[in-house]
Amino acid sequence: MVGSVIVLYQILFAVSLFILISLGLAIIFGMMRVINLAQGEFIMLGAYACLIFTRLEINFWLAALLSGLVVGLFGIIVERCLIRFLYGRIMDTLLATWGLSLLMIGLVTTIFGPQEAGVEVSLGKLDVGEFSVSIYNLVLIAAAMGLLALTYALWRYTKVGLVVRGTMQNPDMAAALGVNTDRCYMLTFGFGSAITGLGGALIAPLVGNQPTMGAFYVAKAFITVISGGAAPLTGTLLASGVFGSVDGVISYASTQVVGEISVLLVAIVLLRLLPTGITGRLGGGV
């Protein structure tokens, strides 16, 4: 009984981590087709922003939200100064954002040094039989799910969401219907960045802050979103579900290396069976 509870917890936790690191990318790459190699550094930026705010004695949860905002604004700036000129030039975007990621790592290292004391949130632990579980991890699971649900609702049920989706699918038509597609792209990118930053802020207490932390997440995030396929959010959820379960179970039963490798192998098989991703058959949607 306890064993199965722990396994379930492992799975949910792994799934939530996948969601937190790839949700923002689901919007930036999944919807906008912008290959943002600096995605990992957006996460890192969120973590650092959160660190600064908490240092300013701001309550952690508020700090996390603020970090989301900060990274969102940063994203908008990046979109205006960089991405905007590169829509439709996928490989150039790849190169530019790679440069951006190097730049961000360098700057953050120069300012904060190679490593920082991570944000500290001690919510204590919960005892399950002879096991104990960090309460923050449980909160994290809830947060991840909530964040996903919110984003989904916003995209699926609001007018804004509809306009954005329309624009991403057919900018010309949207423009013809009087949508300011330019601003629409800008805001969507900003929103994606904000979600990413928030994700970063939320995992900061778990993994600490290092300028190079982004590198650990960027590949995972891309693989998750791509495996998700045509419907970015649903896809990301499903992909995170699959990968998280594989990772959670195998890492617990065997070792973490085996866990990570099996996730990647599962991704390959998945794409071999469903070349257009899990939701490819749905052909669109959110």
Binding site: G106, P114, K125, N137, V207, A215, Q256, V257, E260
Partner: protein
């Protein structure tokens, strides 16, 4: 290039008085002499720099002092720095540059075993002298290579029995997944068994793992008395926090032979870091004249007030050991210095260091410590003049000086 080096000094050591600056050389009365050039190749950028940044400055500091004191053999010392950017390919390129272009009399380089193994062949090809100022798994037998930091036998022979005695017999070992932790784990198992304990689990993690939830669950299932951490690097630092929020040192204490060398305790909250037992050749709270003087000098020199740590001290002792060998040899050329190395001594901040000519490793004091709740260490006990016995068991440079391989230590 020279100009660039100067720029480097300003950027690294801040706008501090720097003895290699012309006017300071004059004041030391050695400006006119042909300088002895040495090189320092370390990772200022990239994931590994948490181990390097302090050592880079400590080496500059040591060179400074020597110049202020009139240099070596009446000649000033010039320091060339290369940032290997946590990239082994650059390590080997820069080693070649240092030896060929700069004609460096000695090169102080490397924090990882892989970078060391990349550079040793180059050093051999160009007949240089290579100081590796970092703890490692031991077993390198190469007269062109000098390691003045501790090897497992030195660190673990005092530490493990104490851990078994204080915390209990059943231990669970976690390590980063590369050679050093693998080797170290074996030593911990060996010494634990010798002390009448048992190891009930050993696990290794890739350096980029930062989610330890699965491991923590397995540990709880195994119920050890003490958990050993040979985790390395910034990502693994997350372990200590996650451990505290899941199991807690109060329930199952932690011991480590790595914690602290990356100054980990300063990256964690006091309560997360407190109470981890370790053994090290140097720590800031070491109650000795030399140690406290070094800490003071370093902080003043670097303008940084945070924890200094043992990697800074390794750099400092490395340069001084080399300097003493040069004085003994009366000639800075690598081969002369190598010939003179045997028995060279330096009264280092961490205690007396003597080069063991059989292995080109060092005999040194090891201090048993435990993190306190002020992100520093409590000094428990000092073990005097420990031999690098594990490496001595496989290597004898006096007998076969042309040996140049790394032996895997048989237990």
């Amino acid at each position: 290039m020279r100009i660039n080096r100067r720029q480097f000094f300003r950027t690294t050591t801040g706008a501090l008085g720097f003895a290699s600056m012309p006017m300071l050389l004059k004041s030391a009365g050695i400006a006119a002499e042909e300088p002895i050039r040495i090189a320092n190749i370390l990772d200022k950028t990239g994931g590994l720099n948490i181990y390097s940044l302090k050592q880079i400055k400590a080496i500059a500091l040591a060179v400074d002092e020597l110049n202020k004191a009139g240099g070596l053999l009446g000649r000033p010392i010039e320091l060339v720095f290369y940032d290997s950017q946590s990239n082994n390919q650059l390590n080997s390129q820069y080693m070649a540059q240092a030896l060929v272009k700069d004609k460096a009399a000695a090169v102080f380089a490397g924090v990882t075993s892989s970078s060391r193994e990349v550079m040793r062949p180059v050093v051999r090809k160009f007949r240089g002298l290579f100081f590796y100022n970092s703890m490692y798994e031991g077993g390198v037998c190469d007269r062109r290579h000098v390691c003045i930091a501790q090897v497992p036998a030195q660190q673990l022979s005092p530490l493990v029995p104490r851990v078994v005695k204080t915390y209990g017999k059943k231990c669970y070992i976690l390590g980063a997944d590369y050679i050093y932790p693998h080797t170290t784990a074996k030593w911990i198992q060996k010494y634990t068994r010798e002390a009448g304990g048992e190891d009930i689990g050993v696990e290794f993690f890739p350096l980029d793992v930062s989610n330890f939830a699965p491991a923590l669950a397995r540990i709880q299932a195994a119920k050890p008395d003490v958990v050993w951490s040979i985790l390395v690097g910034s990502a693994h630092n997350a372990f200590y926090r996650q451990y505290e929020s899941t199991i807690g040192k109060a329930k199952t204490p932690l011991a480590s032979c790595m914690f602290g060398i990356g100054r980990e305790q300063t990256y964690l909250s006091a309560q997360e870091a407190a109470g981890i037992m370790n053994a090290t050749p140097f720590h800031d709270e070491l109650p000795s004249e030399k140690a406290q003087e070094f800490v003071r000098k370093f902080k003043e020199y670097s303008g940084e007030q945070d924890y200094v740590g043992d990697y800074a001290e390794y750099g400092y002792r490395g340069v001084n050991i080399w300097a003493n060998a040069v004085k003994k040899a009366g000639d800075p050329s690598p081969d002369a210095v190598i010939a003179a190395l045997d028995g060279v001594q330096f009264e280092a901040p961490g205690g007396l260091v003597t080069v063991d000519g059989q292995t080109n490793h060092a005999v040194m004091d090891i201090h048993l410590v435990k993190t306190n709740d002020k992100q520093g260490w409590d000094h428990l006990e000092t073990f005097k003049q420990l031999q690098p016995s594990d490496t001595q068991a496989v290597c004898d440079l006096r007998k076969n000086p042309d040996d140049n391989q790394q032996y895997t230590l048989s237990l």
